[in-house]
Amino acid sequence: MNNSEGMFVPMRKWRAALLLLFLCSQTFFLTGCWNRIEINDLAIITAAGFDLTQDEKVEITVNLFLTHTQGNVDMMGGSSGPGGSTPQSLVQSASGINLADALSKLQQILSRNIFWGQNEVFIFGETLARRELIEPMDFLTRHPAPRERANVFVSKGSAKEVLKLQPPVERNLAEVLRELAKTQTGLNITVKELAQMMAGKASAAVIPLVEIKKQEKIKIPIIKGTAIVKNGRMIGRMDDVATRGVLWLRNEIKKATVTVTPEDKEGYVSFELLKSHTELTPHIEGNEWSITAKIDTLDDIVENTTSINLLDTEQTKRLEEKLADDLVNRVNLALTRAQKEMKADIFNFADVFYRKYPKEWNQVKDRWDEIYPQVKVKVEAHPNITRPGLTGKNFLKRN
């Protein structure tokens, strides 16, 4: 008995030791070295642009973030910075029959794996946008790598030209465009929002337009105006002024400075917007569909070159009326362009009607294109001037 137990104990020890050894050896499989992707194996894309080439192909242009700081960038081709300093990004492009194809062609010329995780900006060239947006948008929503929060833009001219710019202030171009969109003086549209608008009841969308501006020698991108999308393709542009109206009506305005000239006075009064809220109320009476847009704003006065005493409530009231007129005009300008000329429901009136009149909407949803241009829109603006600023009357001016 003693003997058998004596045999048994070392056996168990051996087995335990072997098992431990086996388990320890398994840790080598857990290091992740098998499928490792180091940062210098990645081509980190910060912005991507899509264009239509002359032979009807889709060209993809990407702005790569360079992970090395020194290095001979000129040797890698691509862009040259205007300032002479080493650029931190590199532009590459490739074309194919569609986006996925173009992307695979792009991968062929890159020594590193394309990595979408940090991509913040997509730019569609205007020719491609006018042709169709459905195909690229399908790729951007289907492929798991591009992010839904990335901003989208349409560029006047080719997207490639915009991506080639070397911004003087920010680190890279994506940063510039994203910050520009975020300030909300123009539109700020993400991939998700664009997909939402395109798939929504109105089937119309707005995308901010990017334009290249030359200031002396430096070329910078600016957001100016809006591309109007209907049924999956861009059908027109709106200029800067009309875009402001679009923003007011879509309740997306955050920053604005409005300057008006009071009647029978010389000079200008400028207001800075503090807060604004736009409410759309639909009505259906018989066959007549109408919408009341009520805009409530809160403004401060920031400049006054007239002789008006701004502490005078009577005068303030008249200024408010003047400001209201100005707002209504801006909004009407946008409305006429979108509703009467382009017939694109970019203000999403379709949803506004559906929310209040779901039954009526369901009856006409196939004919919405005919009804939309006929919808009567009444714009009411109620500005509220709260403060005259730090001074009352312009005390530098003598009458």
Binding site: T141, P144, E148, R149, K192, R355
Partner: protein, 363 residues
Amino acid sequence: MIERGKISAGQMAIMLYLAITPTAILTVPSISFQYARQDFWISPLWAGTAIATVFVALRLHRMYPGLNLLQVSERVLGRLSGKLIGFIILFMYLYLDALVIREYGDFVVGAFLRQTPLIVVSGCMVLVSALAVRGGVEIVARFGQLFLPAFLVFFLFIILPIIPDLNVTFMLPVMAEGIMPSISGSGILQVWYSEFITISFLLPFVADRRKAAKSCTFAILAVILTLVISNLTTLLLLGELTDKYNYPFLVVARYISVADFFAHLESLFMAIWVLGVFVKICVFYYVTVLGTAQWLNLPDYRTIVFPIGFMITFFSMWMAPGYQELIFAIETTVTYYQLTAFVVIPVILFCIASIRKQVSGVR
């Protein structure tokens, strides 16, 4: 009895909660939205099946204390037909577990580990679950207890930062076409709710049986609340895009961006998903193994843990050739099979059992 472990009623509730919510968050919104549109956040409230299955399981257990659904069916219907019914239910559990593994694998491979073979992802999960199941019901319950706080914290980490991006108008008009759309949207959810029948297999091990009914009610309410919150968040972020994405809640996690650096949270979502699904797989795996051992009159269930694990892995591979077929199967056959095995059969058993009791009581 071949299982000597004991769990508390609270542990049972946690197991049920984690067995139902994780997959429901992932796949239900997309299907539910197609029927209920902007009312689909109301759909989880129509939890008829959950209440019915819990009621039946509790009553059956009161009539036959210490016995689970399989044993009850043998008592009620006699040996042969009882075994047959038992086989149908057991096979459903086997199939369901394989289905969950497959959904898990497809999601992880499709959205994150695109280069990894499906069998590696599923196989690893089954292996880990097998080790837990071998430990018995107590170990599975402890895992549930361990993972629940992490699950809830991660869930809130996704819900709270996305609040600034939500648009309340997307939920309007509420119940525009009456109550019907939200009810038809809850149809697919009944499949998940029917999984509450699993308590029948856990009740025999519950130490404090008096609290069982209360814990089950609590579990149902927690599931409903979680689904309403996740559905509402998805709806308010995506609006009409909800059913366009296969995994809408993943998009919610990806969309988060607070102060420019608190972003890219899909890894968090993946963590939730892996933790929750692990418990889910363990619970169903355990029921399959235990039930099979009882069905074959084996002295111990531990011996068949790995063989059944192999079966589950291969079932999950054979189930469907691709994601599309998988979704098609879930929307058609699986739904009816599962509702039959988990709802219709137990309810019929319950009716027969109560008639028998009354007849014998009169005698």
